[in-house]
Symmetry: C2
């Protein structure tokens, strides 16, 4: 709960030296050099965040243009206007980069609501997810995630990490509901969030039924009915 | 409900002349020729079913070896040991063939139970689906269905048809439960079946969590709790 929005960075909140062009020859891979750099207090913190944003945006742009298998860290670095070593200093590999880029995009497009009621929160959450799933971002993410799942070993794990992170972030909606007495105390917050999300993915991926506000509301009604009747933990 | 297990054959229950080697020169495409052939009462009915079985098995074998895009009716016919025109007499195109082959495989591997209680039926159904999803058949079907979805326009529709057919076949489990007074009368049978299936697909496709008997039982518990609490229609 206390982690920030950078699941793949493994605590490297220190900005890398930025603007590193071809002259930068720092070794690839995150390591002890980060703590050395942490000693320098310089106005590069804002630039570090800019590099991070540029690299993640470049990753999404590359993903949108080519399939997962064809994406390279070289191409991402070129598009972001940074040196490859700058990317490797922050992300271990291509998979870590993609997980971070997609997780960030999902977090930005589907905020976690706090309306004061569990039904209000879950409806906003479900409608946000439905809109994302039927929109271009969701379609692109799912296409990357699923189309290459069989070929790329890293992607199945990456997908699971992104969605677990996402589900975990939504759980406060349920813990607040329990605190307000809207849902029974023994409930499994993750199970409720999954029960809201699963039917919407099912519509998109399997039955090809519309994923609209109505579908979102139906999944909330069903999940709350189950939750209140002891069906979810 | 009254249809048989051949959703793609559009009523062509008349067997085609079988054993048609290279000498058979009947025109491709199903049509009036079928009713002409229906006039001949010959012992080819069993052989017609054998051809059908051989062609569908050849389709699954071809699908397992190559991606959807690379599958051809020619290769299926060659593998089944029949002439291409024999295939085209029964199936309009490659998509119809694949839908029929996959739907048949799913029906064979996940039977619809009738144990006498809705909980017993749904548990068997959910455990059967879970076993299929984590087994080689389910993995192969999902890989075909999802990996080519973006490229092949026919496949998204085919997928929806297979799963709608499948959901519809399972609905008697719920209508029988309503008749026995186990579930409220106003319930939507399709919604209950979807509520059982969706979390299992979600585990396999998104969260990469185990799809075991426990996951199956959890989805049944949640679906029944929702159904009995007015959450599913």
């Amino acid at each position: 709960m206390s982690s920030d929005s950078r699941p793949a960075e493994s605590g490297q909140s220190v900005p890398a030296p930025v603007g590193s062009g071809p002259s930068t020859s720092a070794p690839a891979g995150a390591g002890p050099s980060d703590s050395v750099e942490a000693g320098r207090v310089r106005p590069t913190i804002g630039r570090g965040e800019k590099v991070r944003t540029a690299v993640l945006a470049a990753t999404l742009a590359e993903l949108a243009e080519m399939r997962y298998a064809a994406l390279t860290v070289d191409a991402v670095a070129r598009r972001a206007g940074v040196h490859k070593t700058t990317v490797y200093r922050r992300w271990k590999d291509k998979d870590g980069l993609i997980v971070d880029a997609l997780a960030g995009q999902i977090a930005a497009e589907i905020p976690i609501p706090d309306t004061g009621t569990v039904e209000g929160d879950l409806r906003l959450l479900a409608r946000g997810l439905a809109a994302w799933l039927r929109g271009p971002s969701g379609a692109a993410v799912l296409a990357v995630m699923l189309s290459e799942a069989a070929q790329a070993p890293g992607i199945a794990e990456a997908r699971a990490r992104i969605f677990h992170d996402r589900l975990r972030r939504a759980e406060p909606v349920i813990t607040r509901a329990v605190e307000r007495g809207e849902l029974p105390a023994g409930i499994d917050p993750g199970a409720v969030i999954r029960a809201v999300a699963a039917p919407l993915y099912f519509c998109v991926l399997i039955t090809a039924e519309p994923v609209d506000d109505e579908a979102a509301d139906r999944s909330v009604t069903a999940a709350l009915a189950a939750a209140r009747n002891g069906g979810l933990g």
